[in-house]
């Protein structure tokens, strides 16, 4: 959907972004990925498919999401003006649904009556369960047993929507293990099952497909910023776990000169403590996991290590291969903020603007709060407020020593 109007040549025909990306899966999955690639290529050129996708975004998700000029917060920081792209106002409360709508429509077009998904915090699981209910599909969501405990409200939400939630007991019992288990389900039920991956990672064509479905964010921003501010921003800032909201807002700006792109990873307790989820910022070694080559949190023997972040949505040892490429090519810059910095930004936005942001998005906000005071008042920062924080009440309250 995106490729036609840009000369940007990535990924190549076999799904590579420079040395990253690719199709690193067992032979048993290759035919399913071939089928998906062919089906997606056809759908993305079919005006009827695109029209239905856009109709659903407008009438079911509530797009376009507004851009909001956070004047009080900008004044308080005393520097650049901060604009927020309000993905938190989407149906289901985050950007994840943009992609789920697209993939569910594709599943229906391919004649697959069953969808599966992996989830960490539960946002992608909720979005998948939502669209499965909307299109009358069976839905199974894999979730690490540890996350099932931490995110009880979202588990119940998925069940209300008719999905089956399967707790995954293997490995570290978190997002990466849920992904492994979803892959195992897919390989076993390839005939009737569509795997809705929630981020711009995984084997080709997932990184490009999810990117295409999320670029609606950045495309809207280009129109809205011209209307609201009379120009495009100096910086575009987004949090990066797998990196789908960041790719979604970055991508339409890749060929706009003068727009700096900043991806914000989770520094957890701090990069130097080793307890973080920031493979790009920490310059982790590249490797192969979950079907693609990318920067990976790993030990010297190549075993994937446990990551740490207050935000379950950023708690992932890899990162989408296109971000790896954007880092190497220096088109985007990657930094990390700690749990404490993200929490501080969370509270500030609540008190100053009356918006409760997701902890994931609070990482991007924290970077904006660092950057704004260093810049003049005529500069513009556009921050992707990728989700709302209602799901994080429990985590934030616990940190403040409050029990419900």
């Amino acid at each position: 959907m995106q490729m036609a109007d840009t000369p940007y040549p990535f990924p190549d025909a076999s799904g590579h972004f420079g040395p990253y990306g690719g199709v690193f899966v067992a032979e048993t999955l290759i035919p399913a990925l071939d089928e998906l690639r062919v089906a997606y290529e056809a759908a993305s050129r079919d005006p009827a498919f695109i029209a239905e996708y856009e109709y659903e975004l407008a009438h079911y998700v509530g797009r376009p999401s507004p851009i909001y000029h956070a004047r009080r917060w900008s004044d308080m920081l005393g520097g650049a003006q901060i604009y927020l792209k309000r993905e938190d106002l989407n149906h289901t409360g985050a950007h994840k649904v943009n992609n789920c709508i697209g993939q569910a429509l594709l599943a229906r077009r391919m004649g697959k009556p069953r969808v599966i998904a992996e989830t960490g915090a539960g946002q992608h699981g909720v979005a998948s369960a939502t669209v499965a209910a909307r299109y009358g599909m069976e839905c199974v969501v894999y979730m690490g047993a540890e996350d099932v405990k931490r995110q009880a409200a979202n588990v119940y939400r998925m069940k209300l929507l008719g999905a089956t939630v399967v707790p995954v007991e293997s490995g570290s019992r978190t997002l990466k293990d849920a992904l492994n288990e979803a892959m195992r389900d897919w390989v076993t039920n390839i005939g009737n099952t569509f795997y809705i991956i929630g981020t711009v990672a995984g084997p080709h064509p997932y990184p490009v497909m999810v990117r295409d479905f999320q670029t609606v964010i950045g495309k809207e921003c280009k129109v809205q910023m011209a209307e609201m501010a009379g120009r495009q921003p100096d910086y575009v800032i987004a949090c990066v776990g797998g990196g789908s909201n960041a790719i979604g807002i970055f991508h339409p700006y890749l060929d706009v000169p003068g727009v700096k792109l900043v991806g914000v990873e989770a520094a957890g307790d701090g990069i130097d403590t080793g307890r973080h989820a920031a493979p790009l910022t920490a310059n982790a070694k590249a490797g192969v996991l979950h079907g693609n080559r990318t920067y990976l949190m790993q030990d010297e023997d190549g075993q994937i290590i446990e990551t740490h972040s207050i935000s379950a949505g950023l708690d992932y040892p890899g990162v989408g291969p296109e971000h790896a490429w954007l880092k190497d090519s220096e088109r985007a810059e990657y930094v990390a903020v700690t749990d404490a910095e993200a929490l501080a930004a969370f509270h500030t936005l609540c008190r100053t603007e009356g918006i409760i942001p997701a902890l994931e998005s609070s990482h991007a906000l924290a970077q904006a709060a660092k950057l704004a005071p260093q810049l003049g008042r005529d500069k513009i920062l556009l921050v992707n407020l990728s989700g709302r924080g209602d799901k994080d009440m429990h985590t934030v309250a616990e940190r403040s020593g409050i029990r419900f």
Binding site: E27, T28, I30, D34, R184, D301, I304
Partner: protein, 271 residues
């Protein structure tokens, strides 16, 4: 000629089928791996597939996942696996050893360094589950040049054009995954296997071993009648899980013996 090729040729000449057991290196304890490898040979193994444990074994079912977790908990790593092969080679210079695992530990060591170290340790083949042929052209070429057979998977879902790609990249044998799913899954479609094996043999020109879902002498014999070799993994891991440490080598040897004699009956009825 590689040691693996020579083994298959010898077996073929004798009208016998290759028995290819899989164990995870370091499970249940690194000290037991070399004794277990010798027990497999005593029981009648022709080729040993030695699993390199990985933190995220996506293509494996619960049994091999557990083996991987136990081995990692005991500090197993790719370098240590190579050390175990070197130790095995001190007393067994004949039985081919194939390492089976995932790409990332190899990437972490460096492909070239791995190939060199594996050959030096006495490894004969390598099967990297998440290196399909198109993603590892350099690796498989370098491995072949160094005398390390790159072994590839084919699946019931693989299309015919895939055969040519595997034929170009692979050597040693083909590992045919006899069912959709992960290792240790339940049932095999024998008709499917009967139909596909001759096609693969003709297209790829390599012996075909069949695995995933072979659990006992009977299923081994059925597959053995169709294929050149039988791979058996999860069922051995279960035997290891259910044995006391001082019994484990004996029980695994006896289990393999049962499979061996079932496979050898095929030859006898044919003769």
């Amino acid at each position: 000629m590689s040691k693996i090729q020579a083994s298959f040729q010898r077996l073929q000449a004798a009208g016998r089928k290759a028995l290819i057991p899989f164990i995870t290196a370091g499970d249940p304890d690194p000290a037991l791996t070399v004794p277990l490898m010798h027990a497999l040979v005593e029981g009648g193994a022709d080729v040993i597939e030695l699993g390199v444990p990985f933190s995220d074994p996506m293509a494996d079912g619960p049994t091999i996942q557990r083996a991987s977790e136990r081995a990692l908990a005991k500090g197993m790593s790719l370098r240590k696996v190579l050390g175990l092969v070197r130790e095995f080679r001190q007393t067994d210079t004949d039985t081919p050893v194939v390492l089976m695992g995932y790409a990332n530990p190899i990437e972490a060591m460096g492909q070239g360094a791995f190939i060199e170290a594996a050959v030096a340790a006495g490894v004969d083949g390598v099967l990297v589950v998440d290196y399909p042929p198109q993603e590892c052209v350099e690796f498989s070429t370098a491995a072949k040049a160094a005398g390390l057979d790159p072994i590839f998977l084919l699946a019931p879902t693989s299309l015919d054009e895939r055969f040519a790609e595997v034929a170009r990249a692979g050597s040693g044998y083909i590992y045919y995954v006899s069912l959709k799913g992960v290792t240790g899954s339940a049932s095999i479609d024998l008709d499917e296997v009967a139909q596909r094996i001759p096609q693969i043999r003709a297209a790829v020109g390599l012996p075909v071993g069949v695995g995933f879902g072979i659990r006992d002498a009977e299923s081994a014999r059925c597959i053995g009648e169709l294929a050149d070799g039988v791979v058996i993994g999860s069922r051995i891991i279960e035997e290891i899980e259910n044995s006391a440490p001082d019994q484990v080598t004996v029980r695994v040897r006896d289990f393999i013996r049962g499979i061996r004699s079932a496979l050898d009956q095929i030859g006898e009825t044919a003769r």
